[in-house]
């Protein structure tokens, strides 16, 4: 963390870099310097240009203007391979693995072990991967196909791949978005081990509390421009956030809700599945937000999927407004006014090759049909624009393809899709994953408004502070069971964690 000795150039310097896309100036005269041995956090709102800057450094895009220097020497980055050879390794925001190949084949793609001529030596490749894992302390099987791994393990493969290059600069674009707390600890441990006087890390994250734990300095971008660089030890979250969003955010007052009276809109009784769930029962009332807390794997997503018929239920009764209903598929659920926003945006939530507005009205397209079944484009545009404004989706127009949006803005489109559909019950699974702090507040506000309009909302989140901040009541799960339903006033970080770890006390933790 030592300040750079005078005269020694920084490990990596970025100066006057600009990059435009049709209709968007993603970066405008941005600078940044990474010192030897440090972890530099890069923060900014969704669409601020963080990923774009990193893709320039990784040789994926070429800048319109600007220079890069490494140890004082100008860097020319001609393609991803070239950037890697110069010591810049990147872990992308979106997964970049080949699911059909094995772990070792993924890590060394493009750098295969050759036997004679064109022949591969996979045994040597697996040995090399095993050496790498031993060095990093990772428990991965080199010969396992990547498609069989959980998201967290896939992330570990990505990290191992990035570290397998003789990297000097390691760039991580939201590496923790899909990880739970324990996995984040492992990641940080890897970062600490990687850090040396010859190396440095650029770390992008929307999780503010991580910055203090891992970073030495914080560089803030806003609207494609460089704002400031702060020393982590000398600043606080509030300052960083206000630099990011350029305004003060509302305070974080918690709801004072208790179970509203009246008939529940959705009630679930004795829900069980073969895989995991055991006898889960709860009610959600009109006008309330029911938060689901628990550790990863506790079964929160499974509850949502079982309710909407995405997974098979073994037993359990679901009633809407007191009437028992049969839900076999998400389409049935939607017909009954139950909307489900899944945690896996790429696979289930969004059509990348379609426009922002088409995606927003996708779930409610029925409402946009005119005479003879023609689609009423003008109304779609109006709705599209309304939500782009409400959620502050950063896009040049509603006709932009979702593929071209930044990761967080894609997530906002998914949320808009369900807000645009008039559902009585909305189930949101990790709605704010990858979303910046400012936009989170906006989404919290919108969820509150929706509840205020009499909708029943179920929100699943791995971020406990978020659940405490938003939910009127908190359902806590552990090992497929509901261990508690607490009124917000009665809930604290400590007692929720306590209920969330109810069953793991009996030594189920491996090693």
């Amino acid at each position: 963390m030592s300040a750079e000795a005078s005269g020694t150039p920084p490990l990596l310097e970025v100066e006057g870099v600009s990059k435009g896309f049709p209709g968007v100036q993603a970066l405008d005269d941005v600078r940044l310097d990474l010192r030897h041995g440090e972890v530099l956090a890069l923060v900014g709102e969704n669409g601020a240009g963080k990923s774009t800057l990193m893709k320039l450094l990784a040789g994926i895009y070429t800048p319109d203007a600007g220079v890069f220097r490494m140890n004082g020497r100008d860097l020319l980055l001609d393609g991803p391979r070239h950037a890697q050879e110069q010591g810049i390794s990147i872990i992308h925001q979106e997964f970049n693995l080949m699911p059909d190949l094995t772990v070792a084949q993924n890590i060394f793609i493009g750098r295969e072990e050759r036997g004679a001529g064109i022949f591969l030596d996979d045994r040597a490749l697996n040995r090399r991967a095993q050496d790498l894992f031993d060095r990093l302390g990772l428990a991965l099987d080199p010969a396992e196909p990547v498609e069989r791994l959980t998201v967290a393990r896939q992330q570990m493969v990505e990290i191992a791949k990035a570290l397998s290059f003789d990297a000097k600069v390691l760039i991580m674009d939201e590496p923790t978005a899909a990880l739970n707390d324990a996995e984040v600890d492992v990641l940080f441990e890897l970062i600490r081990r990687f850090r040396s006087p010859e190396t440095g890390v650029i770390y992008i994250s929307h999780r503010m509390e991580e910055l203090a734990r891992i970073s030495d300095r914080i560089t803030v971008l806003r609207d494609g421009r460089y704002i400031d660089t702060l020393v982590t030890a000398e600043t606080d979250q509030r300052t960083v956030i206000s630099l990011m969003v350029g305004r003060q955010l509302a305070g974080d007052d918690r709801p004072t809700g208790s179970a509203p009276a009246g008939e529940p809109v959705l009630s679930v009784r004795g829900l069980s599945t073969k895989r995991l769930l055991r006898d889960v029962s709860f009610d959600v009332h009109a006008g309330e937000i029911l938060g689901f807390a628990g550790l990863m794997g506790a079964g929160r997503t499974e509850v949502a999927r079982a309710i909407v018929g995405a997974d098979r239920r073994d037993s359990g009764v679901i009633s809407v407004r007191g009437r028992e209903v049969q839900i076999q598929s998400p389409a049935d659920a939607a017909r009954l006014g139950i909307g489900y926003l899944s945690e896996d945006r790429k696979q289930l939530g969004v059509l990348l090759e379609r426009s922002v507005r088409e995606n927003i009205v996708l779930a409610s397209l029925k409402d946009y049909l005119g005479a003879l079944g023609f689609v009423r484009d003008r109304r779609i545009e109006t709705t599209g624009r309304e939500y782009v404004q409400k959620l502050r989706i950063k896009t040049p127009s509603t006709a932009q393809l979702v593929r071209n949006l930044s990761g967080g803005n894609q997530q906002k489109v998914v949320i808009a899709k369900w807000l645009a559909k008039d559902c009585d019950v909305l189930i949101f699974d990790e709605p704010t994953r990858g979303i910046d702090v400012g936009a989170k507040e906006e989404i919290y506000g919108l969820l509150r408004d929706l509840a205020g309009q009499g909708k029943a909302i179920v929100m699943i989140s791995s971020e406990l502070p978020e659940v405490l901040r938003l939910a009127d009541r908190i359902a806590v799960m552990a090992e497929g069971r509901l261990t508690a339903v607490l009124d917000n006033a009665a809930a604290t970080q400590e007692n929720v964690m306590d209920y969330a770890t109810r069953f793991s006390a009996e030594g189920t933790i491996t090693r």
């Binding site: 080949m98 059909d100 793609i109 099987d141 959980t150 324990a182 996995e183 995991l276 550790l295 090693r511």
Partner: protein, 344 residues
């Protein structure tokens, strides 16, 4: 997430990365790939057993050899196109290009009087050249494979007619040409050289796909093309190589089919590409790319050949044979999808 996942406490000691990542997938998951091939092989055996009982003329050495002979040309086309399909592409031109290659063999050997070896080599290279053009169209010009090879399919169909003057070319200068396919290599049996060539090509294709750099990139591109490119692999170049390779297989198939008939027939070939693709798909290769095997393709080609042969032997009319093959394709692909859905 595996069903046996145990919840992790957030205070798990972080020094060991082992603890944080949940329990891995069960070992038997890895057997599943070979299980799929076993199932395809099992269906082949069921069909063979069925026809063996249905007719005493079916399970004889001679008939089995004629099934292999019938499978040879489509099979070799299917081998090459397996690579293309695993990359997530498709090649609709292989049928008519094969015919064009036969015509070119006639041009080299009969019109130009080249020696046998040179004419055969030139024909195979010619097939590779067409594959190269397909590859460039797909990966450099960015034309979708379906369209690029559809265009080539029509071009090749036309060129065959133009070059041959719409008449068959006979190999009068090189009568030995017909032995490439037909020469009997086992005394006392009608085991043709062509079938041996097919078997050799199966081995070559299988080794290429599973043991070489070409195969690795074939899977990698089909699995996630963007990620492969980001890893620094020159995806364009490898796609060109893969299409070219498939073209070489087409060239060889052209030689064998012309040799079989002792003449280059300038018409036909259309529809053969679909038979080859059907063989690949029955064999469990995914049209989405990323998954597939040579063993599967061979089994697929054999299933098609056995069906055609067996239905004829039990005197099912020609029209119904096509219906049966169509049904088999649908059933095979549906079963495969069921398996996948359950696995995923």
């Amino acid at each position: 997430m595996s069903p046996t996942t145990t919840p992790q406490r957030s205070d798990t000691p972080s020094t060991s990365a082992y603890a944080a990542v949940d329990a891995g997938t069960p070992r038997f998951a890895r057997l599943r790939g070979s299980l799929q091939q076993l199932l395809a092989a099992a269906s082949l055996i069921v069909i063979v057993v069925f026809f063996s009982f249905a007719s005493s003329h079916f399970f004889t050495a001679n008939n089995l050899i004629s099934i292999l002979t019938a499978a040879t040309v489509t099979g070799i086309l299917a081998l090459g196109t397996t690579f293309v399909i695993i990359t997530g592409g498709i090649d609709l031109s292989i049928g008519t290009v094969m015919v064009l290659c036969g015509v070119m063999a006639g041009v080299f050997l009969t019109y130009w009087g080249w020696p046998l070896w040179a004419g055969v080599a030139a024909t195979i290279v010619f097939g590779g050249l067409i594959g190269l053009i397909n590859g460039v169209n797909v990966s450099v010009l960015g034309i979708p494979p379906f369209i690029a090879t559809l265009g080539m399919m029509l071009i090749a169909a036309g060129l065959s007619l133009v070059i041959s003057g719409t008449k068959p070319i006979y190999f009068n200068e090189t009568p030995e040409f017909q032995s490439i396919m037909n020469l009997s290599i086992i005394p006392g049996m009608r085991f043709p050289l062509g079938v041996l060539i097919f078997i050799v090509m199966i081995v070559i294709a299988a080794v290429l796909l599973s043991k070489t750099i070409v195969g690795r990139y074939t899977f990698s591109i089909g699995s996630n093309e963007a990620a492969t490119a980001l890893s620094g692999v020159n995806v364009r170049r490898w796609k060109i190589i893969i299409y070219t390779m498939a073209g070489l297989f087409v060239g060889l198939a052209g030689v064998l089919s012309a040799s079989r008939l002792s003449s280059a027939q300038p018409t036909g070939g259309m529809g053969l590409e679909l038979e080859a693709i059907a063989a690949v798909v029955i064999g469990g290769t995914s049209l989405q790319g990323g998954k597939g095997s040579i063993v599967g393709t061979v089994i697929g080609a054999l299933i098609m050949a056995v069906l055609t042969n067996g239905l004829r032997i039990i005197s099912v009319p020609q029209e119904w044979q096509s219906v049966a093959v169509g049904v088999v394709i649908l059933v095979a692909v549906y079963l495969d999808m069921l398996r996948r859905r359950r696995a995923g």
